[in-house]
Subunit: 272 residues, 2 copies
């Protein structure tokens, strides 16, 4: 039994998707077809959306579910005529929030995920550039500017985490790969010694590491379980020896790792 | 008059932050102190959160606002005792959704932004690696695998957009910089000709481009307004001549650009 879920917004739809995904994740036995209709900011687009919803209502066995973030009353009312179960995020929260804050909302369309100020845009771009320039130990002379330096063996998840930290939180994250040389003598690499309070480790289960490396270099020593076990053991020994906080990335999403890094390192989010 | 806003979650807090930021963006005359308390998943942490909320309530002139995504009833009730205005996202939406879907929620803690399945994790990592490997025209021989190829002058926002498309949507995005050679003869670069239906252009206002380039290379020809004007004019001429859809990134956030790319190119989100 299939249900269609719509995310409808006058902006990007990312808020509606984020909230919707969180709620739908609680219904893991059900099967959903998901459709996002962003930039639904006039009555023509609203009518198109209603037509799509009503078509899905006919095809499916049950009425579609709609998560919407729509500021304009006319568009909201047009959508309300559709044959769907509506979860209207702004109308649920905006009125109570106005009362709590003792202020009126500006009712500006597409406000979230638009550029509110050039400064936070620049922070974000700078952080992305920082992550790219200081990826994989490429340069270590800019570590003074880092909010955090992720340390771990090759393919433990350092680069995606650095990029997510930059894009989502405006955090400057460098990363440094532990190589055989570092792992042999269980010493902290020289480039990291002056920055011990910024270090954060990523570990991973050797079985998962083998699988990931095999995708890149099948049948290599690099991808072998022996090599992966030995590298992970060495990395964790270094983390423990030097008191570097670390997480195991095996069963953690990029969001979870990033949030734990921020918490553990006491980093201030630069994007709010 | 300062208000403190808390985002409290048993998981990463990203859903609460996303929704909260969207709603607070509607109150642009107010000033907020924002605090995220992720992984609030036991009663000890809940008590810590209550203490922080009550302290802020004493310091501020008005009670704090709390956006929460908490599945556990006991933790939720503990928070409800705090001196705050609570916007409880799950309790507002989960019950109605259960009724609409005719199914019970699993009430699993920290469910959103956790790894639901290894496959979507892999899609995401593959997309990030694809964006990095095919950044800035570095390689063009993997364009067959691209969902979209962003085209634009240097510093028009191509790389951050590709990375966001990868992380947020699991979309494989390559990017190709238009250089003086391409812009002189207003022809489509050879590497792009076989992929015309995948091309998407980024333009930018010359004044903004000058400002961005000046950050990287002050007083250079590269950053001069004449050079920037001429490049942008050439790029838009190419977009128009070859029917390449494009957006102006000057006043658009990375989220807006990414969403417009997905819409215009009719790309299927791989992460749902």
């Amino acid at each position: 039994m299939k249900r269609t879920v719509f995310f409808i917004s006058d902006g990007t739809g990312i808020t509606a998707e984020t909230l919707g995904h969180s709620l739908l994740a609680q219904f893991d036995t059900l099967d959903f077809d998901q459709v996002t209709l962003p930039f639904t900011n006039d009555l023509t687009k609203a009518a198109d959306a209603v037509a799509r919803i009503n078509k899905a209502a006919m095809t499916d066995d049950m009425p579609p579910v709609v998560f919407s973030t729509l500021i304009n009353d006319d568009i909201r009312e047009a959508l309300a005529e559709s044959n769907a179960f509506m979860l209207d995020i702004f109308s649920s929260f905006l009125k109570p929030l106005e009362e709590a804050l003792g202020a009126e909302s500006s009712y500006s369309v597409g406000r979230s995920h638009s550029i509110v100020d050039d400064q936070s845009y620049q922070v974000r771009i700078d952080s992305v550039n920082y992550a790219l320039d200081n990826d994989d130990g490429a340069r270590t002379r800019h570590y003074d500017a880092a909010d955090v330096i992720l340390v771990g063996v090759s393919r433990s998840g350092k680069t995606p985490t650095c990029l997510y930290l930059a894009l989502q939180f405006g955090v400057k994250a460098a990363n440094y790969p532990l190589t055989d040389d570092d792992l042999d003598d269980l010493n902290l690499p020289k480039a990291l010694r002056a920055h011990r309070n910024k270090l954060f480790g990523l570990s991973i289960e050797p079985e998962r590491l083998t699988a990931i490396r095999t995708e890149r270099k099948p049948n290599s020593r690099y991808a072998s379980i022996n090599q992966c076990e030995s590298e992970v053991r060495g990395a964790e020994a270094i983390f423990n020896r030097f008191g570097i906080p670390f997480v195991n990335s095996t069963h953690a999403s990029i969001e979870e790792i990033s949030t734990r890094v921020i918490e553990a390192a006491g980093i201030k989010r630069r994007l709010v």
